[in-house]
Symmetry: C2
Subunit: 281 residues, 2 copies
């Protein structure tokens, strides 16, 4: 049976370090503060927000929620974000997407100050991830994958990593983060031929396709490291990943569960970003 | 023996189309114009410049060379680029890099207007390539690779492409362009294990490592498509690619020569970008 790489173990290890860092910042008179910008009140956003606040406050980071009406105008939202950009007490911004359709998200994403952009919304941060320049902020989820691998002492350099999925939220930025760590990366997707065989040849297999339990035992080889970034709801209404956990955990060497795997770590990465932004500020 | 994919055939096919497009623009009173910005006079830059001017003028595109002294100050160069950005008669800018060391290239690259940035210098264009958004300008060399593949009717969708090299000039942007075309891409580099085997498993192998003749027969399988993006000078002072052409052409199905392959096509892509910029202007 595979070793289960639980998110909570990564979270606890990260917390210990971050609590100390926040204390040091506070001794210098810096109070790390995250602005959570939310338009409307979608249940998913509210749920993530609660988790983010709990995680951040547990570390000593202040969270300020900026909630706007679903009907807010572009002009109004632009003005609000400019104010938050200019507010010296705020070090990081998390803005929930997608925005309602009447808003021009493209304008907004360029507007969020790159220095406060905690989840790689601004293309300037995306370009830095692409270029392997770590001075910007990568999106939280791919960085959470790296934290899980590092915490479990999985070697990245020289390893063959296969990623299923090519989104700008996970697949593409994760491929660049792993490339910077000297992995050999393969990006697969719906048009990939011989997908199962390609996946079996990986040292590390990362599922970020958004398709419930698509990674069956046939995708996995003995001893492989399998990371599940999917968060899906199956036909029976249960939360599940992209990996068929029951099948895969019998074959793989290491596996992350869903829930309780990578997703658990993303808000710790968010907190880490806020601390880094506050340290620079 | 492999089919030789000559750059000149691609160039001629592209030229025919572009000549018509330029004529149509001129009938509308638009004269496509490229600004070539050069600091100092490095022989490589001058050589590329001559080729670019010849290619562009052959299609009916005007080129204006802005040559600056090696010792130009940052302030002065910034002012000059702002003027070129603002000049409505100029549709595209090609700026030779690297700039001399006393200049801050990072400031300059953000300064070049994304709409006139013909070779993906501005991170806003890089972020678009990363995101698969084709509204920006990709760098010329990776796009030249795509032109070579398309001209030779090599199927990209669903094919397994292995790229050796992860630069921001070729490897990384090319991987994103191919991913957008639904290839399954693998990026290899100096830390890749089993490099030869990985390369042999590709349908299309692209060498962009900058290492003379490193791709020997052992990297290639029967019938494979091999694209050589390398431009090196060997110990004997001869121009050569990353591919050992003599060995590889006996095994591969298709191969590009060096010189006379991908490199020949880059200035045609540059011209294509100028026409596109002029059409929007």
């Amino acid at each position: 049976m595979a070793v289960v790489m639980k998110g909570i173990d990564v979270v606890n290890a990260m917390k210990e370090k971050m609590v100390r860092e926040v204390e040091e910042l506070k001794q210098k008179g810096i109070n790390p503060c995250l602005a959570i910008v939310r338009v409307g009140s979608k249940p998913d956003d509210l749920s993530y927000e609660r988790g983010a606040i709990k995680r951040c406050e547990g570390i000593g980071i202040t969270c300020r929620v900026f909630e706007y009406d679903q009907e807010i105008s572009q002009q109004e939202l632009v003005k609000e974000i400019k104010n938050i950009n200019d507010d010296k007490e705020i070090h990081g911004i998390l803005l929930f997407r997608p925005l309602p359709k009447h808003l021009n998200e493209d304008e907004i994403k360029y507007l969020v100050s790159p220095e406060k952009d905690m989840d790689c919304m601004n293309p300037i941060n995306a370009a830095k991830v692409f270029a392997g320049d770590s001075s910007g902020f990568a999106p939280c989820t791919p960085e959470a994958v790296i934290e899980v691998l590092d915490h479990n002492k999985i070697p990245i350099e020289g390893s063959r990593v296969v990623i299923i999925g090519r989104s700008m939220v996970v697949g593409k930025p994760l491929s660049m983060l792993l490339l910077k760590r000297n992995a050999t990366i393969t990006i697969c997707h719906t048009k990939t031929k011989n997908l199962e065989e390609t996946c079996r040849n990986a040292d590390i297999l990362i599922a970020a396709a958004g398709k419930a339990r698509m990674v069956t035992g046939a995708f996995v080889s003995e001893g492989q490291v399998v990371i599940d970034v999917g968060i899906n709801v199956d036909a029976a209404g249960n939360l599940c990943g992209d990996v068929d956990y029951d099948e895969v955990s019998k074959i793989a060497g290491y596996v992350t569960p869903v829930p309780g795997g990578v997703g658990t770590v993303t808000t710790s990465v968010l907190a880490k970003h806020v601390i880094r932004a506050a340290s620079k500020g």
